[in-house]
Symmetry: C2
Subunit: 464 residues, 2 copies
């Protein structure tokens, strides 16, 4: 007792202003998910350990938070592992649950478990926290929200069109300046690897290409050589590095470079369709850009992939991304269910909005009316008025106890109250009350119990 | 791989309908919290183990979900406890984090850690999940939401008034039938224990009294006797059992029974103030009822306590409760901060609304328009129209691929689409399109690209 409390490493408290801003951001995203016909689901915070382990590679397994079994957990522990102090060997005998690591695996589990209730294509969105035992650093937390929309059960490219439209709608409503969405296609990457005779090295090829931004062309070539991609292949790659022009021009050049039967041609066709369709539908804020170096690490992507860049001038990595996958649920026994999804990087978008001062000012107007507490009967009259204000959708409260005016005004000021309601003995006797506009310092007088004046009063309060 | 997936015991997936209903319920509560000047905060899902342990009694300690340390957790394990297979002794050396058990302790930690940023009184609300390793049973889950509003830093009874008004406002908007709120006061309980000469047995006395509902007067008396409360004291208690009349009448009888200097008198005064004030402010849905058997287990309450009963005829325990406490934050080193709070039992209120069919029907209208996919160019024209609908706030989607009409209509039906947009080759040539009202089976025809018709169209879509 009397301990100095602390918060757990890599986690955050959110104060009222932050919660309101986060709610606003999630609200905008949610609204557009819904307007495109996506439906919400939620899954539990923890899953069975066996559902999550092995899904995210060895590094992922390490970063999953495991929950200790309840009660006398050692009674069923693996004795050999215990004697050998083998943390990894002991794990499954003392922990059978783990915190959600992303929303994708729980979604796959959901689809498989509920397949008989679902109408395909199933369009779901999900906005929930995930947890990772990462080393905390600036902008990287152990608890953070993911915000995903996916369609499963359709391989139509119209889904990609609608998902890209969602990015456009959300970023437009958030008031973002123009935003680039990089596009690529896994088959195009495979086709290029084939073109240069390195189809067996497609993974190393892709991983190296992905680093072009960071290490430059020379660095990429060096890495490819070190991974066994030969110099001859690199020479053939030169035209790919040197692609020029608009997206459609780049695609045309690529179509010429690759053989007719190359898997690249399907990728090029898909991307061309997206370009042409979205041009026809007129994007407002996002613009598309073919980027052959875009790989997106996640191995389950098989078709179109995309990544949203932060607005120019804002130093931040990508603020969203997604792509098409052929087999999300196969691991849980449901084969051949194709899908495509996008995600919004909530924490980063929050920082962008903050940096560009794009959060609406109205979010900070949280208290419209503070009523001074000027005695028991006066407070009672004030409370009746507050009831009227609240019913009209305003936020209003009574200062909790009788105190000096100065103290009450100071509280009103700190709370950011827009109006202070003054209803003292004198006002009560004269059947009237005052409202002080805290920004302008002006006082307005109104008659108590006058239905006539109410409309005018509410108009004044709302600054109409 | 190919494993049959399962969900963790005591946890739930929420399908779209359930999420929408939960969002609606939380939205109503949130709205009224805000209109009474409460501000949102959020705290992390896990806290340091030391923050939570010892806060909820021995039973609580057992029910807290502990998170295993990451990496080679055995390397820092308590060797003696390990050798002796002492699960409890080992705990703090292999786990330093635990999942939130309620919202009250994290709130207390928050207030202490952020005391320099807060304006007192601080009115916060918090709606987040908590986790308990309870044995799952009907209506009891291992993950569930709590929904709390508290004011700290004021001992004014006007806070109790506003909190009870929040109950009234929320249950009124939810369309609930009349709802009883039981009131009691910890000092009244202490005063009665004193009255019968059992002040030293006040806890046993309170615990037994709390069971009146379940075990009847005879059972309560038997339990009191077994706990060392003597027969003479029980005889003195008889008038308390036999209190009659309205709340104010009961309070008057109690005031007569108890000595002038009894702590009970303060409790009686407080309750009288609440009764009179709330009568004056006119409650719509809740009604107050003095219930001396109401104890509310939580030991930190010190003043007024209350509990909300489910509507008559619905078999369900309490659907909310709260009370005043004198010292929430003392355990973390911040003394003398009085507060009062309420909570809503979200899961139970959900069940009540379901049983009474009180969820708004509109929640299930999630897809306003499904556009048939009748070819690439036709789909393109349809997509342009969908953009107009969405901008007007409607939810709309394109059937993902060209398919038989019958199949597309079946999907529209399963998705509960209100309108189906038909725009085929013929319609396109004639510069028009059809909307089919799925409920009535009627078709409406509109001209394409006519601004004039748009207002009419949106009116039709919204059923204005």
């Amino acid at each position: 007792m009397g301990q100095k409390p602390n918060i757990s490493k890599g986690t955050r408290d959110f104060n009222p202003e932050q919660v309101r801003r986060r709610d606003y951001l999630m609200g905008v995203i949610r609204k557009h998910f819904q307007s495109f016909g996506f439906q919400p689901i939620e899954t539990p915070s923890f899953e069975q350990l066996s559902t999550l382990m092995g899904q995210y590679g060895e590094e992922g397994d390490r970063l999953i938070f495991k929950i200790l079994n309840s009660g006398d957990y050692l009674s069923k522990a693996n004795e050999k592992a215990l004697d050998e102090r083998d943390s990894r060997g002991l794990l499954s005998s003392i922990s059978e649950k783990a915190l959600r690591y992303d929303l994708t695996v729980p979604f796959a589990r959901y689809v498989v478990m509920h397949q008989n209730e679902l109408t395909l294509p199933f369009k779901r969105y999900q906005i929930q926290p995930v947890w990772r035992a990462d080393r905390p650093q600036k902008g990287r937390f152990r608890e953070f929200y993911q915000c995903d929309a996916d369609v499963v059960g359709s391989n139509s490219l119209w889904q990609e069109v609608e998902l890209l439209q969602i990015y456009d709608a959300v970023f437009t409503e958030l008031g973002m300046p123009s935003i680039k969405v990089k596009l690529n296609h896994r088959r195009l990457l495979a086709g290029i690897a084939q073109l240069i005779g390195e189809e067996k090295n497609v993974v190393a090829f892709t991983v190296a290409l992905d680093k072009l931004d960071k290490i430059g062309r020379e660095g990429v070539e060096k890495e490819m050589l070190s991974k066994g991609i030969d110099a001859e292949a690199l020479a053939k790659l030169a035209p790919v590095f040197e692609l020029q022009g608009t997206g459609l021009e780049k695609l045309a050049s690529l179509a010429d470079m690759c053989p007719k039967d190359s898997p690249a041609q399907q990728g090029i066709e898909d991307l061309k369709f997206l370009y042409q369709t979205l041009n026809g539908l007129q994007l407002k804020t996002i613009s598309l850009d073919i980027d052959l170096t875009l790989a997106r690490g996640l191995h389950y992507y098989t078709g179109v992939i995309f990544e949203v860049s932060a607005p120019e001038g804002v130093k931040m990595g990508s603020i969203g991304g997604g792509g098409r996958y052929d087999d999300l649920t196969g691991q849980f026994g449901l084969k051949d269910l194709s899908g495509v999804g996008i995600s919004f990087g909530l924490d980063r978008i929050y920082l962008v909005l903050e940096e560009l001062c794009l959060f609406p000012e109205a979010l900070d107007n949280t208290l419209e009316v503070l009523a001074l507490n000027l005695g028991e009967e006066e407070a009672m009259s004030a409370m009746k008025l507050l009831g009227v204000f609240r019913a009209a959708g305003l936020s209003a409260e009574l200062y909790p106890q009788v105190a000096r005016m100065q103290k009450q005004f100071k509280y009103a000021d700190k709370r950011g109250a827009q109006w202070v309601l003054i209803l003292g003995t004198e006002e009560r006797e004269q059947n009237r009350f005052l409202l002080k506009d805290m920004a302008k310092g002006e006082q307005h007088e109104f008659a108590l119990d006058s239905d006539q004046g109410l409309k005018h009063l509410l108009k004044v309060l709302r600054n109409d």
